[in-house]
Amino acid sequence: MVEYAVDFKNVHKAFGKQVVLNDVSCRIEKGKTTVIVGPSGTGKSVFLKLLVGLLKPDSGSILVDGRDITQLKKSELFEVRKKFGMLFQDGALFDSLDVAENIAFPLRRHTRLKNKEIMKIVEDKLDQVGLPGIQHKLPSELSGGMRKRVGLARALALDPEIILFDEPNSGLDPVMSDAIDKLIIRTKEHTKSTFIVISHDIPGTFQIADHIIMLYKSQVIAAGTCEEIQNSTHPVLVQFFSRNSDIPIDQNYVTGKLDLRPYVTGELAGEDAD
């Protein structure tokens, strides 16, 4: 029987009049890599923030391992969050701490391990992300790709059940982008964790994903395996995955010209973008 790590049920989220997620329902399978794709501004990052409880939905429920996190008290939510590790877009490393202390941070906060044991884990995690021996460097001395990998090492420190990646390839050159994708695949092989990745990177998505969820205009318009998504004839999917801005993806907006209006999300979607 398929087990689900995360279950979004009719989730609605708006900021003022701007609807970011509209009646979103989707399930994320345990132990698999699910990539959430969609145009900019469709609510992918909000989806992640709702999932870790940084934001509360206006309605609907979000189940993590069967527990509705929208109903939890702060202390209970903090307990659930220990299941998560998250790689932020720019790594979100603490500037005042060196690499070792950044990775050690969750271990010092949530375990009673001795310093020697913590440093051993730090060393192992750095090896795992392909950056041995940089314990004493400061985040400001690292390149964008290195910061992301250290961020991943920190996310892995507590061996979480669910690992979240917020646009792991953004701002990286194609080679580094590919290296990060391969690192995700390698990390997946080492852990039994559930991986949830927000991405814009089409080749990377098909390289790492077991399942793909497509968000468009604040809603889930497709969910399935890579093959199912690739073979879909849905015009939005066809345009998105062919990276072609000349195809009008929404018949309401056929202009014969470059048309980016459908990329405006929520309630504004029906109005002119300019």
């Binding site: 940084l54 702060k74 998250m86 932020f88 490393l93 500037d95 969750p106 906060r109 949530h110």
Partner: protein, 249 residues
């Protein structure tokens, strides 16, 4: 009308923020290492600049006071004037102002940058309460450091006034010191420390608040710093009047 609404919403948010800060202060033991680190940063690093300012304010008070008192032959009261004005008013105000200018801006900038770079979100995702980790240790450090800084400020400003009175204005050293001893009561010293402590608490709340709710981008960070300094400085001056009125009538 919209501006009024904005101000009211801002005040409401500030109230909730301060409430959460003080709830966090009593909800769990803070990390002693973090508290010591911030006490060092706030106390020790503010001290040199505070002393420099207090010394020159003390000398100025003595000079200006001397010429005013001399005009009606009351220069023998210079010690009382310098002592009371420095201990009761100037030391707490200058301590509050220096704390706003140095650790206050540092807190706003640090927290605002952490907000912009998603480091506060990262703390939350790692199940670390940002109030417990970022704010409470700073608040405790402010509460302990401020009264001590007021003491140092008062001592150096009165001492500077003494040197000007004795070595520049050639007043009697014994009389100046007697004046300070007779007119400046222990109660005045405590009141000054209390004032300094209150200014520091408000300063800490405001700098954390502006940093925590900073807008995205470098402009948001600079606005947070700006708001923090301007608001704290204005607040100290206004609050000082009411405190002085409440204490001394």
């Amino acid at each position: 009308m919209k501006q009024v609404e904005k101000v009211l919403v801002g005040l409401g948010e500030l109230g909730f923020f301060a409430g959460r800060m003080f709830r966090s202060l009593f909800s769990a033991w803070p990390d002693p290492q973090l508290v010591l680190l911030h006490m060092y940063k706030i106390g020790v690093e503010t001290l040199p600049v505070l002393i420099a300012v207090c010394v020159f304010v003390g000398t100025n008070i003595a000079l200006v006071g001397y010429h005013i008192f001399k005009s009606f032959g009351g220069q023998q009261f210079l010690g009382a004037y310098v002592g009371l004005s420095c201990v009761r008013e100037l030391a707490p105000i200058l301590t509050g102002a220096m704390m706003a200018a140095k650790p206050g801006t540092d807190i706003s900038a640090t927290i605002a940058t952490m907000r912009v770079k998603e480091q506060i979100d990262a703390l939350e995702v790692m199940s670390v309460d940002p109030f417990q980790f970022l704010i409470v240790p700073r608040l405790i450090a402010f509460i302990f450091a401020a009264p001590l800084l007021v003491l140092f400020g008062a001592f150096f400003s009165v001492a500077a006034g003494y040197f000007v009175a004795v070595y520049q204005l050639h007043l009697n050293s014994g009389q100046f010191l007697n004046d300070v001893r007779n007119y400046v009561l222990l109660q005045d010293v405590f009141n000054g420390m209390l004032k300094g402590g209150l200014f520091a608490i408000v300063g800490c709340v405001l700098s954390c608040f502006f940093g925590f709710y900073s807008q995205p981008g470098p402009k948001g960070v600079s606005r947070a710093i700006n708001l923090s300094v301007v608001t704290i400085a204005s607040f100290i001056v206004i609050f000082n009047f009411f405190l002085t009125a409440a204490i001394y009538g």
